[in-house]
């Protein structure tokens, strides 16, 4: 079986989240320090220019923080939460069948984006599972006969039994 979650993935996302948070807050802190420095140089003749510089710096720092935290940090935190969720408990299930993935992914609010997966077998009902949308590319194309290992409804490892026709 090929695992789709490398062993160091949780620590990697943890580090990534910290980097995004530090980067965002750092950018904001640097820009606000710049604003404070400009404020000390305000004179009647330069007040207008200083004000524009301060507004520019404040906006730049704030936007950098919002984008880094709102995009990078939140994603990394969501992946961490997902990995911790999978890591709590060892009950692993196995299933086999022809792989069919849903056309559209669904984003869990504040969490990762998941894709619905069906494993269709000829001698029983289809098994419904989910897979982290970011990991879809690791799975074989639709139609392949696979055996998968899952935890809490999420595919964690797979083995291709027969390629898609």
């Amino acid at each position: 079986m090929t695992s789709i979650y490398p062993a160091d993935e949780l620590s990697r996302f943890d580090r990534q989240a910290r980097r995004y948070l530090t980067g965002g807050l750092g950018a904001l802190a640097v820009c606000l320090a710049g604003c404070a420095a400009v404020c000390t140089q305000v004179r009647p003749l330069t007040a207008g220019t200083c004000f524009m510089i301060v507004i520019g710096l404040n906006t730049l720092g704030g936007w950098a923080m919002i984008l880094l935290v709102g995009l990078g940090y939140r994603d990394a935190r969501a992946e961490c939460r997902h990995l911790r969720h999978l890591g709590n408990g060892n009950e692993t299930e196995e299933a086999a069948g022809r792989l069919r993935t849903d056309a559209h992914a669904a984003a869990i609010p504040g969490g990762i984006t998941v894709l619905g997966v069906r494993l269709e077998s000829e001698d029983g009902p289809a098994v419904r599972l989910r897979v982290n949308a970011r990991k879809r590319a690791l799975l074989p194309p639709d139609g392949a006969l696979v055996r998968v290992s899952s935890r809490k409804g999420y595919i964690t490892a797979f083995e291709v039994l027969h390629e898609a026709d």
Partner: protein, 195 residues
């Protein structure tokens, strides 16, 4: 495409941050560049003042205790804060508006009203002629007397604010007469005769 969509979803937060920044730093700059009436001289001009910052710098350079700064504001500033006009230390007023704003003027000190052309109210000199239509003077470098354009150039008078804290003769409680000092300085700049 997905990234653009996600950034678009953050747009309200980005706009809110920018707006809050303008409000916050506007407040901070007001605190930095302004002070209370007891420590500043306010000159209000009944015309556009494109050189306000330069004139403020020049006048602030002359300041002495307790004055820390001088503010030069056009009358249109009253849209932001009407009390700034009524509490002004000095006013430069268009001749056609003198009657309209007459309640804001204090009489000129007697020692200074013996020479020069004055506008008088009930026989009391309240405004010193400092700009004659069509003539340029040192103050014309800072004040655009021909604004608004539909009214054209006109005569302008320098008046002392009735509620000023810096014109000793207005109010016996006030110790300083720095407002009068600045009035004399402005009159000297324009060539108006005072003594």
């Amino acid at each position: 495409m997905k990234l653009i969509k996600r950034i678009f979803r953050l747009t309200p937060m980005l706009i809110t941050w920018a707006m809050l920044g303008v409000l916050f730093w506007g407040f901070v700059f007001t605190r930095i560049t302004d002070t209370d009436r007891a420590h500043k001289i306010v000159l209000c001009v009944d015309a556009q003042v494109p050189g306000a910052a330069e004139l403020e710098t020049r006048m602030t350079g002359l300041a002495r205790d307790p004055i820390r700064l001088v503010r030069v504001l056009p009358f249109s500033y009253a849209m932001m804060d009407a009390s700034t006009l009524t509490d002004a230390d000095l006013l430069i007023v268009r001749d056609t508006n003198l009657e309209r704003y007459a309640d804001w003027f204090a009489p000129w000190p007697e020692r200074l009203s013996t020479a020069g052309r004055f506008w008088a109210r009930d026989g009391v000199p309240c405004g010193l002629l400092i700009h004659t239509a069509g003539h340029a003077d040192d103050l014309s470098a800072y004040i655009d007397y021909a604004q608004p354009p539909q009214d054209g150039d006109a005569d302008y008078y320098l008046c002392i604010g009735a509620h000023s804290l810096h014109t000793g003769e207005n109010d016996a409680k006030n110790a300083d007469d720095i407002g009068i000092f600045y009035a004399e300085w402005l009159a000297g700049l324009t060539g108006a005769v005072l003594k």
